[in-house]
Amino acid sequence: MPGFRCQPGVSGRHRAGTGGSVDLSPVDYVIETNGLGKRYGRRWALAGCTLTVPAGQVIGLVGPNGAGKTTLLELAAGLRRPTAGTIMVCGRVGFVAQDAPVYPGLSVATHLRMGQALNDRWDAALARRHVLDAGLDPRQRAGRLSGGQRAQLALALAIAKRPGLLILDEPVANLDPLARRQFLDSVARAVAASGDGVTAIFSSHLVADVERTCGYLILLAASQLRLAGPVDALLARSPHGTSLDDLVVSCLREAAR
């Protein structure tokens, strides 16, 4: 079993290092960015982002819509290449994209089979168990799943890879409150069950989603990194009685000024 390997994401004009993989064992971070920026046309979706994301935590990425959360996560997942700066990602990435895209014509079981075919490491038993625990019928066509069920299928595909880093992009944005709670709980359970130091990072525009599950917070606003740190430390630095929500709102107010 290879150790975690740290490798640059899809490299852009600014290549990270020599492009080869670097063994870093033990790993103390899962994502390291340096002056990372991404431009779409003339608009910078993310600019000057220098960040180190520690390993072994559940990390919340918060910010208003259009702040650059999806861009940062897709850069980390290798779906996008940086316009500026570098990003290093350690370990294999399990990625649940926004709105949990799946193939509508393929059944749940076929999706799992596909995950097995397209991945070097695959825990078929885990995938199957997760799908059944979530109440999905393996024969069901994915196009007929509800939003919450689709998110569970996408999560099953992501965790069965046994990733070192689990990235979830707005996984609960379109779910009703019950499905939202169930999904976040199953993420927490999956992280706890994996036991071998998996790091999970998920984004939301609601602080409440993050507060319950995350020990580490990253705040983006208007394409800029505003705040990053352990929730405890961030709160300890603030005046007594400040909630995480208050902290985020005051940061966003400051950013808007």
Partner: protein, 326 residues
Amino acid sequence: MIWFAWRQARVPVAAGLVVAAAVAVVAVTAGRADGSVRLWLSIVVVVVPGLLGVFWGAPLVADELQAGTFRLAWTQDVSRVRWLALRLAVPGLASMAVAGLVSWIVTWWAGPLDRMGLDQFGSFDSRDIVPVGYAAFAFALGVLAGGLTRRTVPAMAATLVGFTAVRVAFRLLIRPHLLSPVTSVVPLDPATTGYGSGGLWPFIPGPSIQPAPPDLPNAWITSISVVSRGGSGLTNSELARMCPGVHHGSGGGPATAGGAGNMPVPQSAASAWHACVARVATTYHEVVTYQPASRYWPLQWYELGLFLVAALLLAGACAWRVRRIG
């Protein structure tokens, strides 16, 4: 891996086999007496590769980009290029197989008619092996169009337009020059030479003297011209100078006074034209360029090869494009 390659392609492959089977049924049940069946089957062979490019090639990557499922597909352990290769292999080969099968059925069915027709180059595009190359090309073109437009419907439209343009341009500009044509110089025969406007009026007014094509069964005559010993073509004014008085009228066949298919002409007009052509023939002759009948198979292989190479280059461009998206 093989399972994945096959799984996402099995529906279109089945549809393609149904199309081929339908063509076979039509061919077997329809008699060879009805000339329109031959025409329609030829059209099917010409159209099938383009349709395969439009309906199999264009949506292949465009659907993923449009629906967002590329974010699922491209975050697995296999690289994007590997993924593309897996997605391309089965439908790419299947499109070649379907086009080849349809062409083979039609070639078999139309064989007796084609042998009687003595015009093998007239159905060059819709017989034998070239449709296989067209299908590979159209499919790869469709995939690339999908990667570039990122939208299925525009990709389908671009594939149709692009494929048609390439086929027409190849037919008009490249195929006649793949093998340098044979040139044959024959004297002008007053008995078979007609009178007409010639060329593509009004764009290219050709000579008003129309020699009959030489009797070259199954050859592909690419040009017929009337040229002087000095190498210059016969102009209208030159013709008018040599034959004053004949340069009026609306054209017609050889002045054979009532030959099959020709308007009967008065004996006086016929002999005047006869004399005119005989006069022109003293300084001008007929130059015919053509591909002999024996070049049919070399040209089939040559064209197949070129389209297959182009398809491979397009597939390479698809890989380049898929790597760059992001």
